[in-house]
Amino acid sequence: MPTIIFIQPDGSEQRIDAPLGLSVMQVAVNHQVPGILGDCGGSCSCATCHGYVEREWAQHIPVAEPYENDMLTCAADVTESSRLSCQIIVTPQLDGLVIRLPPTSR
C-alpha cells in the first residue's frame, strides 16, 4: 500500500498507509488528520480538504479539473501547490506523496 505523508504547519508528520482507489481526503479523514475535514463527502463542494502538493509530486497526479480550481479561487491561503485532496485518488505512483496542510484550518 502506498504511504502518504501529511505534514502540519508546525512540522509534525503523520505517515499513513493509503488503500488504492480511496481519495486522499478519505485517507486523511479515516486517520483523523487535523485540518482535513471533507465536510461535503468528496463532492467538491466545500474546500475543507485543502492541502499543498509538493511540485515533484504534481506530475504523478492528474491536473485539477476546472471546477476544483474554481473552488480554490477564493479559498484561504491558496498557492500554486494548492489542491483539494478529495479530488486526488490514491494510485501506486503516489507512494511517498507529501501533503502539507495550510496554516488556517477552518
Binding site: 483523523q32 463527502g41 473552488m71 477564493c74
Partner: protein, 417 residues
Amino acid sequence: MSEVLSGTAIIVGAGHAAGELATHMRDNGWRGRISVIGEEGSLPYHRPPLSKAYLAGTVTAQSLLIKPMAVFESANIEFIGGVRVNTIDRAGSRVHLADGRTAHYDRLILATGGRPRPLPVPRIQQRTPDNFHYLRTLADVDRMREQFKPGKRLVIIGGGYVGLEVAAVAIERGLNVTILEALPRVLARVTAPELSAFYAARHRNAGVEIRTDTQVEDVQLDPSGNAITAVVSVDGSWFEADLVVVGIGLVPNVELASDAGLAVDNGILVDEFGQTSDPDIYAAGDCTNHPNRFFGRRLRLESVPNALEQARCVAASVCGKPKAYVSVPWFWSDQYHLKLKMVGLSQGYDQLVMRGTTESECFAAFYLKDGYLLAVDTVNRAPEFMLAKRLISERIRVDPCRLADEGIPVKDLLTHP
C-alpha cells in the same frame, strides 16, 4: 470541569452531527466514556448522496460511511446502533432505551435530526402502501430503488431540493416523472423566483412534468390496498403513478427533549454553545433552533455544514472550552450537471444582482440589502460561492455594478469590493 471530563457522555442519534461530536469530544479532552446511541443501525453516513449518486446507483452503501468503525474504535467511542432512546430522566441523569436498558450520563447531547414531514392524506396513515416513499434514510432509498425502473410513472410530491434531485436522477434513468408542488413555484421556500424559474425550465427540458399550485388531497389505492395507483389533487386532477416519492419538508425530532421538559420552539432551543435549557444537556444539528449572529435571529437549519460545524463547537463547549457557533449558513444541491451552492439567507433582500446569465447555466445571483450581501445562489460558479462566503462573514460592503461586471475577476471583488 476536569472531573466531568472523566464522566459519561451520551450522544443520542448517529447522524452527521453525532459522529462529529463523538470524535471531537475525544480531541477536546473528554477522557470518560462516550456512547453514541442511534436508531438507525448504521454508523454515521453521508445523507446527501441518498437523493443523488446513491439513488442513481453509482456509489455503494459502504462508501457512504463518513468514517470507518476503526476511527470510533481507536477513539474508544462506543456505538449502540439500532436502538432508540425513549425518554430522558433528568432528575436521575439517565436515559431509557427502547430495548429496556437504561444508561447514566454526566452530559447528554441530542443530535436527533429530523424526520420527513408526513403527507396529510388519511388513506395512507394506517398502512404505508408498498410504492409510497419518504426519503431520509438509507433504508428508505433501498426500498425505493427496487421500484426505480425505466418506464415507470413516478409522481413526486414536493418541489424542494429533495424532490428535484430525485426527479433529475429518475428522468435520466428513463422514468416518467411528474412533480406536484402546492406553491406557485418550485424551491419557493428557499430561493428567488428567478432561480425557481431556471430550475423549473431545466427540469422541463429534461422531460419532467411540473405542476405548480397543485396541492395533493388524496390517493387512489388498488383493490389490495397495498399500492397507490393515482395521486389526486384538491382541484380533482388525477396523476397516475407506479410509485410516489414525498419530499415536503422536515419535522425536527424534538419530542425526546420536550417530553423531558426542555425548552423547544421549532427545534430544541440552544444557546450559541449548543446548551439547552438544562446545563447538562446540549444539542446539535438539524434538531436545533440556535441563534445566528450574522442574521441577528434564531434559525433552524437543515444542512450538513450546519450539523458538522455546530457539532464541533458543541464538542468543545461540552469539554469546558466554550466555543460559540458563528457560521454563515450554506448548502449545496446537485442536479444534472448543475452544481448549485448557496450561502446566506436571502429573506428580505432589496436588490438582486446577476453575474452571468441563466441561459449559460453558469451564473451567480447575489441578494443584497442596503449594499451588503445577504446571500448568493451560484450555479456552476464556485469562485463566486467562495467569494460570497467571505463577503458575508467579513461583512464587506459591495458595489452591485462591480458584482455584475464579469470583466472584473472574482478575486478582485474581494480586495476592492
